[in-house]
């Protein structure tokens, strides 16, 4: 158990102290949004916790459950879709045995779809832990996963 993290909204400038900015920071720090922090944040911003839950469930990128060790985001924008993003996605699902979840059973990889990262000229694009990779072919997926498994 990690020790209690510092409230991430303390160092926010006054005029950027909006719930969505703070939630983004929490997500970036933890990989997901823990319930305890949410309670605290609701008190701090003086809004009901339900309203924060409303925000979290509204946006695609927020997670309330911990993610896998590595995160793979497949761009599902039109250009990437037309150039084979679903093939890559299907290959990931098959290779990781995802079966409806977004995280593999061994907790190694979380696979998500994002809508357009704006690199349409290099389609199809995947983002592997903040590192973007372009012009991926579906048969490269097993090699990618092998690399990830070897990483410490």
């Amino acid at each position: 158990m990690k020790d209690v993290p510092k409230s991430p909204w303390e160092d926010f400038p006054e005029n950027e102290r909006l719930a969505i900015n703070i939630l983004n920071r929490i997500q970036a720090d933890n990989g997901f949004i823990p319930r305890e922090l949410l309670v605290e944040l609701a008190e701090c911003l003086d809004i009901p916790e339900s309203q924060l839950h409303g925000l979290i469930s509204f946006f695609n990128s927020y997670r309330v459950r911990p993610a896998g060790k590595h995160k793979i985001r497949i761009c599902y924008g039109t250009a990437c879709y037309a150039r084979g993003a679903p093939l890559i996605n299907d290959r990931f699902i098959e290779a990781l045995n995802l079966d409806g979840n977004d995280t593999s059973p061994d907790g190694l990889v979380t696979v998500e779809q994002v809508y357009c990262v704006g690199a349409c000229s290099q389609a199809p694009v995947i983002i592997q832990d903040e590192e973007m990779k372009s012009k991926i072919k579906s048969y490269q997926v097993p090699m990618l996963l092998d690399e990830l498994r070897k990483k410490p």
């Binding site: 005029n15 037309a82 098959e94 809508y115």
Partner: protein, 670 residues
């Protein structure tokens, strides 16, 4: 409770909200230092920035600019930049990260400026061309891998790419890509260092702000924008000047401006490109807009997915603060503005202005009914000016060059230039600035380099746009609307003959199902129903009469949804039903003309050109490719095949055939 502290609440008395009271108090206060208003103080400050900027733009050493926008990074520019900057140049060259020049197909792109004002462009740089770049930077004549050489028309003057003229062309694609373009607002992209405010100032930056603050009254700025006929570039095409006028004439003294950089349209990335490559251009536009409507607080609502853009923007804001172009008494005038960034977290509907405001008030981003429009009653009930990033980037140009000059390009109703993003099955992809009203064949054919036969359809305007057959039409707001699509923010995805139109339409509806906020019934429940119908088509389970059902349902959603998202969500279906009816009918019969829908296709191996390299056998993940002795050495076991296309993508001799009964695979872009 202590009785002394108890006071009855003044319920029936109107109370001026605290924010309004603060604003009034602030406006009553005199300016702190009236001497700062003097003009020369400012002149020196901006001029000194320009001087410094000129030193770094036109150094007497070589300047190597590596394109490090998102597209460049994806293509591997970071390795190139690292290799170059780790070299010991002995003060003979400097390596600088710039944004994207627009030619995203050529990334990683490196531009070397030699002290005599020549620019050497290297495209698709890999380790092999590094040595050539180093040689060029050291002043030796380049031998190969060079794409183009350009010269500054007047050495030491570079305000945009239009100040360069080609003197040598090794790769004709470069000229074909840039020649039909008019680079007004994106001219600096890829040449200026986005992190360096001085360079921006040296390229005529912040001149417009200075002119607006000291030579023009806010009213005059609004008139200029109104006379230019600039229309909102976010999609709807509402007159910008009119919007500004509504906000500025409101009696409420608390006003806000918001720059809408929540660019959700898949396939459109002009906002990202502008923010990453030329953030000060957008910032300057935003400051002028705020000054014109009298706002004291500005926000930039930017997508979470654009991390690089957010970083660049933060950096730009803090450097503008440092030189006094933001914050209290901008440039020494009496005008004060603070700008903060709001990061969205991935919801398409938040590009809709009322939804965006809801999020900024810590609510779910559900759109509300309009009117009242945000220009009258927006953030926290105050009048709020919301403009797209590209619209704002137009403002400095208009203020500097005048409304009349703005009308030099474009059509009467849609003047000016517009950035389009071209992606998909074309040879040259990238972001392209052309006059409005340009023909689609110039854009896709000449600039994109696609032939008439290779492109089947154009997807215009993101998921709420439409898919229209590729033929000649003019690209302005009215003509695009006449085809059934909308201009949207200007994303163009070219679809080749091997892309299944029905599947793309289904993908769009699927996207909208996920993005629907769930407030109104037709959008929330109608769209999943529609997607299920389309899915039936794609997996070959559709029955006769399904097309009528699809059309009826789409029409009902379009007529009854509350906000723009729902009303336009069915556009891809309606446009394709009109123009690609044959494709839909083929799907009912269980065939996919583009051989794309997995359940409807079969893989076969054509052994005539096979060289027995066994690539297909080795790569197949499910063991469906089988080897045997005899005539049919390799066959695909249809029972085991998962249709992952791995064999097709690996086969070096094009032996894999994909069939959907009578239809044959037609590769259109390779």
């Amino acid at each position: 409770m202590n009785m002394k502290e108890f006071r009855p609440p003044a319920r029936h008395k109107y109370q001026v909200p605290a924010s309004v009271r603060e604003e009034i108090e602030r406006k009553k206060k005199p300016v702190e230092n009236p001497y700062k208003l003097l003009d020369f103080d400012v002149q020196i400050s901006l001029r000194s920035l320009v001087e410094e900027g000129r030193l770094s733009l036109f150094p007497n050493t070589s300047r190597i600019s590596v394109g490090m926008g998102t597209c460049g990074r994806v293509a591997g520019a970071q390795v190139i930049a690292r290799n170059l900057s780790e070299r010991n140049w002995e003060n003979r060259a400097r390596v600088i990260s710039v944004g994207c020049l627009g030619a995203c197909y050529a990334e990683p792109l490196v531009d070397i400026r030699t002290p005599e004002g020549k620019h050497y462009f290297y495209g698709l740089v890999d380790r092999g061309s590094l040595w050539q770049i180093i040689k060029t930077a050291l002043g030796e004549p380049p031998s190969h891998n060079l794409w183009a050489v350009a010269r500054e028309r007047q050495t030491g003057v570079l305000r945009g790419i239009h100040d360069l003229e080609l003197i040598k062309l090794e790769n004709t694609s470069f000229r074909d890509f840039f020649h039909p373009q008019v680079r007004r607002i994106s001219g600096r992209c890829g040449l200026v260092d986005p992190q360096n405010i001085n360079e921006y100032a040296a390229m005529d930056g912040y001149q417009a702000l200075e002119k607006a603050l000291f030579k023009l009254k806010p009213r005059r700025v609004i008139d200029m924008v109104a006379n230019s006929g600039l229309r909102g570039r976010g999609g709807a095409g509402f007159s910008t000047g009119e919007k500004w006028d509504i906000v500025s004439t409101n009696s409420d003294p608390v006003r806000f401006v918001v720059a809408n950089a929540d660019e959700g349209d898949p396939g459109a990335y002009m906002d990202r490109a502008l923010l990453e490559s030329d953030p000060h251009g957008v910032l300057e536009g935003l400051i002028i807009a705020a000054y014109a409507v009298g706002a004291s607080r500005g926000y930039i609502f930017v997508r979470h997915e654009y991390q690089l853009a957010v970083q660049t923007l933060r950096q730009a804001i803090s450097s503008a603060h440092r030189v006094g172009f933001l914050g209290r008494n901008i440039m020494g005038s009496s005008y004060t503005l603070e700008i903060s960034i709001v990061e969205s977290a991935g919801a398409f509907v938040c590009g809709e202005e009322t939804s965006m405001l809801q999020v900024m008030e810590n609510n779910r981003g559900e759109p509300r009914r309009r009117p009242p429009y945000p220009a009258a009653q927006g953030l926290h009930g105050h009048p709020t000016l919301i403009n797209n990033v590209e619209t704002l980037a137009n403002i400095p140009w208009i203020v500097l060059n005048g409304a009349e000059a703005f009308r030099d390009f474009g059509t009467g109703k849609s003047p000016g230039t517009k950035i389009f993003c071209l992606a998909g099955d074309v040879e040259r992809m990238g972001f392209i600035e052309v006059p409005l009203g340009i023909s689609s064949s110039i854009l896709v054919g000449e600039i994109g380099g696609a032939t008439e036969e290779s492109v089947k359809a154009l997807h215009i305007g993101g998921p709420s746009g439409g898919i229209v057959p590729y033929n000649e039409f003019s690209l302005d707001y009215e003509s695009v609307a006449a085809t059934g699509a909308i201009m949207g923010s200007g994303g163009l995805v070219a679809l080749g003959h091997n892309r299944c139109i029905v599947d793309i339409a289904r993908h769009m509806i699927n996207f909208m199902v996920k993005e629907s906020c769930g407030k109104c019934l037709f959008c929330r429940d109608g769209l999943p129903e529609l997607e299920a119908h389309l899915l039936d088509l794609c997996i070959g389970k559709a029955e006769e009469g399904i097309l009528e059902e699809i059309e009826d349902l789409s029409q009902a959603i379009a007529d009854s949804a509350l906000c723009g998202l729902g009303q336009t969500a069915v556009n891809p279906v309606l446009t394709t039903l009109k123009d690609f009816y044959a494709d839909y009918q083929a799907h009912i019969k269980g065939r996919c003309p583009a051989v794309n829908c997995k359940p409807l296709i079969d893989f076969e191996i054509n052994l005539t050109s096979c060289r027995d390299c066994r690539a297909c056998y080795l790569v197949c993940p499910s063991g469906a490719v089988k080897m045997r002795s005899g005539q049919d050495r390799y066959i695909v076991d249809q029972q085991l095949c998962t249709k992952c296309w791995a064999c097709y993508e690996t086969c070096p001799f094009d032996c894999i055939k994909i069939t959907s009964e009578e239809f044959m695979w037609r590769n259109s872009y390779e």
